[in-house]
């Protein structure tokens, strides 16, 4: 009995040692030479494997960084400039600084602004809904409200607001990986500059219908009137296909456009004070009568210094 046990132990041990030697030899013979820097770069990556950089995952991104001559075409939106600095340090390259971005939902078709015109009882998927028809509101271009973007976000940064029926981006959590941008069949989500102190101005509408039709569908729609483009001193606003677009690289956050927009389609976020009143009414009463003109400028300066600071 004991001899059987002893022989078994001996046989298994000998077999184990033999196989270990074989494995060692095979591993040496077929060794794949890999740049050790790939591992090093991967270590400093966030490890989300979100694909926001355009590669299959963090390792694929690391590999491409090691192979690339410079880091101009590689950028990890999740890690941002900090991670890119570390990557550059590992590789002895230079990383270009990029302004941090954030996902912005360009639709203000809340339940109140955009009444439903029919009832959708299909499956809760924007992709399926978009393939079937224009959606349950009068607006063909706006948010469908089924939350494909919420499902696509790996960072839990988007949630549906039950009151408005629109997705809300949590700026703290958003890494600008762009997964929601790809998931949205209506292409209403855009990655925009996060802006100084997270302050941003953007047109919260993508409706390309003519003014009257757009407004009929949604009271907060951009009607393409072009007032904002005329008002903008920096030429940052273009109106194309009946919808305005603000170029965030040119925008200086003066918010004159916010004030003139007749439908409130232009949104300003994270500003401490409301947008300055348009200057239009001020000169008119001044010409008509002097007295009422005097008190009016008072509230205006209260708001304008705030904007002046931002411009600087």
């Amino acid at each position: 009995m004991t001899t059987t046990i002893i022989w078994t132990i001996v046989a298994i041990t000998v077999l184990g040692v033999l196989l270990a030697v074989v494995l060692y030899l095979v591993a040496n013979k077929f060794k794949v030479e890999e740049d050790p820097r790939i591992d090093e770069v991967e270590k400093v990556m966030p490890g989300a494997n979100c694909g926001g950089c355009g590669f299959a995952g963090c390792r694929a991104f690391a590999q491409s960084c090691v192979e690339a001559a410079n880091l101009d075409n590689n950028y990890c939106p999740v890690g941002g400039n900090e991670v890119m600095k570390k990557v550059a340090a590992v590789l002895g390259l230079e990383a270009k600084e990029k302004a941090p971005m954030v996902a912005v939902v360009r639709c203000n078709g809340t339940c109140a602004n955009r009444p439903t015109v029919n009832e959708y009882d299909g499956i809760k998927s924007c992709k399926v809904k978009a393939a079937l028809y224009s959606g349950d509101t009068g607006c063909f271009y706006g948010c469908l409200g089924c939350g494909d973007c919420v499902a696509a976000c790996q960072f839990g940064a988007i949630s549906m607001d039950p009151e408005t029926g629109l997705p809300v981006v949590d700026e703290e959590k958003c890494t600008a990986c762009g997964a929601c941008v790809k998931a949205c069949p209506k292409k209403i989500i855009e990655l925009r500059n996060k802006g100084p102190k997270n302050r941003r101005v953007f047109v919260s509408c993508v409706n390309m219908e003519k003014g009257a039709a757009a407004r009929k569908a949604c009271s907060a729609a951009c009607i393409g009137c072009g007032k904002c483009a005329k008002e903008c001193p920096f030429g940052a606003i273009t109106v194309e296909h009946n919808v305005a677009y603000i170029d965030f690289n040119k925008c200086k956050l003066c918010r004159k456009c916010v004030a003139v927009c007749p439908t409130g389609a232009i949104h300003d976020v994270n500003f401490p004070t409301p947008a300055p009143k348009p200057e239009k009414p001020a000169p008119k009463p001044a010409a008509e009568a002097v007295k009422p003109a005097a008190p009016k400028p008072e509230p205006a300066p209260a708001a304008s210094p705030a904007t002046d600071k931002k411009e600087e």
């Binding site: 015109v117 029919n118 009882d121 299909g122 499956i123 998927s125 992709k127 399926v128 393939a131 079937l132 028809y133 224009s134 959606g135 349950d136 009068g138 063909f140 219908e209 003519k210």
Partner: protein
Amino acid sequence: MKKTFSIGGVHPDDNKISAGCAIEVLPVPKTVYISMAQHLGGPAKAIVAAGDKVKTGQVIGEPTGFISAYVHSSVTGTVKSVGLRKDLAGIPVVHVEIEVAPDEWAEGIDTTDTLVTEIPQDPKFIVDRIKSNGVVGLGGATFPTNVKLCPPPDKKADILILNGAECEPYLTSDYRIMIEKPQQIIVGAALMKRVLGVDHVVVGIEENKPEAIAKMKEAIASLSAASSDYDGIEVVTLKKKYPQGGEKQLIDAITHRQVKSMGLPIDVGAVVQNVATSLAVYDAVQKNKPLIDNTITVTGECFPKQSNLLVRVGTPLSYIIDYLGGVPETAAKAISGGPMMGKAIANLDAATLKGTSSVLFLTEAQTRRNPETNCIRCGKCAEACPMGLEPFLLNKLARNGMMDELEQNAVQDCIECGCCLYSCPANIPLLDIIRVAKGDVIRIIRSRTAPKK
């Protein structure tokens, strides 16, 4: 034994409640909105502008590309505007708005009812007439008929199949035209027979339409007695099974030939045309009358005034419904097309198209979707699929975005008949998911094959 296709299929109640209603001509509305995207392929380009006077049958849209079609004015009047208007799915499409004046037909159109049975000798003349009169397939896909009748030179058709199956429940417009205009349909078939150079034409009709079968047989007998142009045309009675009217299913049922994956009917030597298309071909060639009206069934259990109407293209749906007494109170959903493949109408102000076949009203109880539960692997969907696919598997693959596997499992062959969804005991929205995946996979296949050319 009556013929039918070999795999899959379901047997929904046919509910042909409007079958007894003779075709009535709907008065022309005050304004029509003619869409420029009434066919498969590139939308037509409007060649009229606001203020132009147009006559009935005048060309107002020109084709843009090989697969495209002419669009004609269905009324006489003044063009009010050319611009975006919402179609029945609420999607903006270019429409020509025309304010209607009393009918005045464009030159060269024969508006009499006399039957012209003489078949022109020149196939090119026939094809040109079909093309210039904007005839498209009226079986649902609205594929330009002239393109379908001119297969590539290396492929030869040996049989023309006329689709009179009308397998969708509720729809009766094809049935009514087969009863009321059988001779015109057969002349249309003979015209297409001449173009294709085939000897054999089969009209496939399901067994639940005995009257149509009798009328069509009668028409063939009387026409072939007078001329040899009508030889080789026969009616085949088919077993009742959905989706018999699917092109590939009909070819299988009648000739027992199988169209391979991603193939076309012409690969097996068959061309399929709907009976309504045949009627349009007759009008286009023998009368030089463009496709400006079509028969539409307005029906539903909750709809009191069942009707089959001859409607001018571009008539707003709301006008048709108001003419028949308005939307019934109990109706929860309006569908354009049949209950299996039709599309829910999101916009009742939308105008009819060449391919519009019906407006169907369904009640809350008929349209309610039960909550989705887990797949129990019963295999009913796979049994029902007429294309031999495995919808339960495609559903899983699609939800996980596995495009390569979807393609290997032939999602691109789905004909969107809805048999899987109809048979699923777990109420899984199989078709909704598979349809989107099919679109994605076809896009991938196209992008892969495109650069090689």
